[in-house]
């Protein structure tokens, strides 16, 4: 039973029900651009590549994209200025910065300029892909929704309660925050790094199994209630947190 619940899914299935997106990659390093574009195309997305900041700005202003991935240091126009120009031009497309600059100050600077996420080079494609999917404008819930529901799993953000069917689940604050983030990104892979950043505000490698331990505690609590006799309407296993090998975790409804 445990094996079935903790089933690992292959890393190619990075996002269930993924809808094709249009992604703009602004990157002067051809190899990185090709690597990113190939990965995104394998996920079924359409990709446009701009080799410098000016082309990037032109494309982003001219066409509509779901996500923009851009290098921070670009010829023609620096990434920071590019984002500022886009925002000034009323373009609210989510932007992910790729950068070799990983310091605290650099990160803050990037986000203040109007970027939505920040990934330090070198990065793995699965990490980038998870972040692209998380940013894409297909929210399963309204950002301000008080109640998140995934299958029979229900999380109330105001009362800070979690229910599985008719059973209440008692979660510690960080477990609650972790489950909340997984639910907001239901059916999408979230990586360990994303969880560290969003749940703990840790922007470094904690060197121990913080995320793994918390995930397994949440799983155990869900499992206890399931064993306690929640009837599954669909007849399936109910909501569960899947481990995606080499990528992260994904909450699915059944």
């Amino acid at each position: 039973m445990a094996a079935a619940l903790h089933a690992q899914v292959p890393s190619t299935a990075l996002c269930r029900y993924s809808k094709a997106m249009k992604v703009l990659v602004v990157e002067d390093d051809a190899e990185t651009a090709a690597y990113v574009a190939r990965g995104l195309k394998e996920q079924g997305h359409g990709v446009d590549i701009a080799g410098d900041g000016r082309d990037g700005l032109f494309l982003a202003l001219d066409q509509s994209f779901d996500v923009v991935i851009m290098d921070r240091m670009l010829p023609g126009m620096d990434g920071l200025n590019l984002v500022k120009s886009l925002r000034a031009g009323g373009v609210e497309t989510p932007v992910i910065f790729l950068t070799a600059l990983g310091g605290v100050g650099d990160r803050v600077e990037g986000l203040e300029a109007g970027a939505d996420d920040y990934l330090v080079k070198p990065f793995s494609f699965s990490e980038l892909n998870a972040r692209v999917n998380a940013l894409a404008r297909r929210p399963p819930f309204k950002a301000e929704a008080a109640n998140l529901e995934v299958g029979v799993l229900e999380l109330n953000r105001l009362q800070r309660t979690v229910r599985l069917g008719d059973r209440s689940i008692d979660l510690k604050p960080k477990e609650f925050a972790l489950l909340e983030y997984l639910m907001l990104n239901v059916d999408k892979v979230v990586t360990r790094t994303m969880l560290l950043e969003h749940v703990w505000d840790f922007h470094f490698d904690p060197k121990t199994t913080i995320v793994e331990t918390h995930i397994s505690r949440i799983r155990a609590k869900l499992e206890a209630e399931r064993v306690g006799g929640v009837r599954m309407e669909s007849g399936g296993g109910g909501p569960q947190i899947l481990t995606v090998r080499g990528a992260g975790y994904m909450l699915v409804a059944d």
Partner: protein
Amino acid sequence: MRSTRARVATLLIALFLAVFGSSGLATWAALSQPVDAGIEQRLRHELSVAERFYIPSDPLASARAIQARERRPSGFEFRLADIHNRRIAGDLPDGTTYAPGLDTIETPPRAIPNSYADDSDEADADVGQRIRVLTTVLPDGAVLTLGEDLGRTRQLKALFLRTFILTSGAALLTALALGLGYVSRILRRIELIGRTADAVSGEDMGVRAPVRDPARGDDIDQLAMSVNRMLDRIASLLQSVRQVSDDVAHDLRTPLAHLKQRVETALSGPPSVESYRAALEGASEKIDEVLATFEALLSIAQLEAGSQTAAFYAVDLADVAAVVVEAYRPSAEDEGRQLVLRAPRPVMVLGQRALITQMLANLVANALIHTPHGTTVEIEAENLGATARLSVVDDGEGVPDAARAQIFRRFFRVEQSRTTPGSGLGLSLAAAIASVHDAVILAEDAAPGLRIIVDFPSPSEHLT
């Protein structure tokens, strides 16, 4: 530097000539007028006296009396002539008509014996003399003329001029010598600073510009101290860069060599998807390891170089400790270790929260990784007045004294066998973060176990 000296000398001389020249001219003019007026006054006085000596019945006796009087050292030249301008007595030349009143006459060369021969030179006598004369017509029609050789006043003026030139020349030379000496001393000190910079741009990073009196610190000392501060900063940056390259050579080469061996082993073996996949997975792991080390080294170098210049804000160490303990507690408990938090009150410091969190996380992770199961790790945040202390104490096996002294060095590991995980950079990074916050980090024997203390300077009163 040479040209600076020449410029200073030229400027000094020009300034001097201007000041002394104008004051000399002014003095000359002021001096000349009273002297000329004085001559006229004395001539009039003397003439009135001589008139009284004159007896019209005996011009010759009168002439003798006048002559006797004018022989005195302060006497005048004179000439007594009868009504027909025939000389009766006196030395003044005959060639001119002496009209009553003041006049200046020129004598032909050597016309009269020069009574001031001891003072004037030959050339003077050769060109003749200029004599100021005052003439009056006596009641019997005789003409009496008194004259003062202007050579006397000219000599006075010459004496003044000579004295003036001599003293001003001496003053100019003295000022020039003193000024150039002073300028040279300053220039030499500046040259020394310049030479220090040259020496540093050569090889010798240890050279510093001489500072005469750091306490008083004149302008040149201030310059020297600024240059020295800059050199200190450059030296520490260079040291940091050298350290990084040493570290890279030392600890990145080994995992890279392992990586290459794995790839080569796979390539030289029989081709199979399984073995290639295994090799690639192994290689990918190794690369992650290298990247993590690289990242840590880079962070340390950036922190040490001070390029992480984000602003400092008020940070509550107690809150940071609570967050970190909460994050690590489940995994610690799963492995049979206890995390104890002792931070009941806010402990405020100025800093970057993200960095302080990372530092404490590193210290806690270090304590969890390097201690046996059953260990208790205590995390404490407390106010100690002048300092705010963050400490991580474990009751594990501890670290031998010799090793404890080196614990914050890069790549230093207590067990050289490297069987436990870790890059040997966690505590170095913690030390670098402490140093950015002007905090003192110490490793102590907790008997048993290890105690790491980070003492932050307390912020000013209004924050606490």
